[in-house]
Amino acid sequence: MKYKFPSDEWAKKLRELLNESDSYQRSAKDWEGDFIFVIEPDEAYPHTSYLHLELYHGSSPGAALVKEDELPETEFELKAPFSTWRKVIEGKLDPIQGMMTRQLKLKGDLMKIMRYPKAAQEIVSCCAKVPTEW
């Protein structure tokens, strides 16, 4: 089964994979801080969409597609056009390199992110494992 990106089902599959990942649990064991992934429109995708990923102590208590007027307050926001997200999820763009070249724009406590590079990598690794329909 494939999951359309971005969708509520895709977010929940990501959550499931994160919760099964020993590497993520190890690398993010002290992590506290939810993310909003903002998928911006471009020629391949006409909408702005928001995925909310709850992250707490090496697990993901929840994940969902949310509407703009229902956006929760989160510690971090990662924003990029749809095609850039696709490159990240398909493993063609390293997310840290993406942030360093401002292709992915991060809002939040950057010092905190810098202390957990492996956890960030594991999240992307789980993203790449979601069977995705574009």
Partner: protein, 394 residues
């Protein structure tokens, strides 16, 4: 999309003399007290004085500089108000100089906030010159900054592309007096940069050549440079050539890995070094052959390419072992330990810190570019193998 950043590199014999051409009024020299004691700092300041500079020397940089040291250095800069900051030394003073420069320009930042994702807006008050006195760290050519969080016994990988030096003066005379152990430690550091810059997942077409050439020169000239450091007549031409080749190779490797990344040997070496206070080069070099063997078992392609380009021949599927064996031979020849047990780390101490070693290495920034990513269990197994000097077959 990616970037390649580099200082203007002035290299070769008498490169230091180019300081006479520098324009400005006040220079803060960031170094350590040993380099003041042996007169290398004075060689630099004498040229700056000829160029009309007022000088202040901040010589409080310790090995593995702490966050507090660079805060103190930034305070000195704020009082002196230099228009040039000169980082003189091995990796520690040069990395400290980079951080002091950033904090002088950006007093609103804490050292731990110097990260690659923000715009710093440097060069409003001053610029940076780096002058290496060892042939190893490559810090003169990189934008990375390694500082130590003394409270948590952890090294922090910081830096931003903007904080690469404006000028690097790579004069072999500045490293010609290195004693044997420093020649060996820094030389193996440079080799680790060259190899990991080539095999890491962030390598690029632009950095590959620099890393490859540096690796080739280090394998050829490190033994002679080490011999020179023990010789009663180190000014013989072949020794001087070996020293100069090593000095240039260290900068080339710095440019190479600094614009790509390092990898597992650095992640593991950082953690071992910060807990057991081993010199950086010795710590990372200790892991290199083992991490090559580990990587080659599941992700051999880049290692096979590197071994072939270096002329290291091996049966099919054995390139990792052959490259690791070549590196072990070089290390042994320059008196470096081949396993953690031989590096002065007592087994009980090692075991009591093993969880922290694995945890910190797993979360080190250099781990994310490993061509083969270890699981937590594999990393623990790897630390144990390196402690006991056992072959890596997992």
């Amino acid at each position: 999309m990616w970037h390649f950043v580099s200082p203007n590199i002035v290299f070769g014999e008498d490169a230091l003399r180019s300081l006479e051409e520098l324009t400005g009024k006040r220079a803060l020299v960031v170094t350590d007290n040993n380099l003041v004691r042996i007169g290398l700092a004075e060689r630099v300041t004498s040229y700056l004085i000829k160029a009309g500079f007022k000088i202040q020397v901040f010589d409080k940089v310790e090995p593995d500089p702490t966050l507090q040291t660079v805060i103190n250095g930034a305070r000195a800069a704020n009082e002196f108000k230099p228009d040039w900051i000169v980082g003189l030394g091995g990796g520690s003073p040069i990395d400290a100089a980079k951080a002091i420069w950033v904090l002088y320009e950006r007093p609103d930042l804490q050292p731990a906030e110097i990260n690659p994702f923000i715009k710093l807006g440097l060069r409003e008050k001053s610029r940076l010159i780096t002058i290496p006195t060892t042939s190893g760290t490559g810090a003169e050519a990189t934008w990375g900054i390694v500082l130590t969080d003394a409270e948590n016994q952890r090294k922090m990988g910081l830096g931003n592309r903007e904080n690469v030096a404006d000028i690097a003066l790579v004069d072999p005379a500045m490293a010609a007096g290195m004693p044997p152990h420093l020649t060996a430690d820094t030389g193996i550091d440079a080799l680790t940069h060259a190899v990991e810059g080539f095999i890491c997942t962030w390598h690029t077409d632009i950095t590959d050549g620099l890393c490859l050439n540096a690796a080739r020169d280090i394998l050829q000239y490190l033994p002679q440079a080490y011999e020179a450091s023990q010789s009663e007549n180190p000014d013989q031409d072949h020794y001087k050539k070996a020293r100069e080749k090593m000095h240039n190779a260290a900068t080339s490797a710095g440019l190479g890995f600094g614009n790509a990344m390092a990898s597992m040997a650095h992640a593991m070496g950082h953690t071992l070094g910060s807990i057991f206070h081993l010199p950086h080069g010795r710590a990372v070099g200790l892991f290199l052959p083992y991490t090559i063997e580990f990587t080659a078992l599941h992700a051999p392609q880049r290692i096979e390419e590197l071994a072939a380009a270096l002329g290291i021949h091996s049966p099919k599927g054995k390139a990792g072992q052959a490259l690791a064996s070549c590196i072990r031979e070089i290390s042994r020849g320059v008196g470096l330990p081949g396993k953690i047990a031989d590096a002065g780390v007592e087994e009980g101490e090692f075991n009591s810190h093993l969880d922290k070693l694995v945890d910190d290495a797993f979360n080190d920034t250099q781990m994310i570019t490993a061509a083969r990513t270890p699981s937590f269990q594999e990393l623990e197994q790897l630390f144990n193998a390196v402690y006991h000097g056992q072959p890596v077959d997992f």
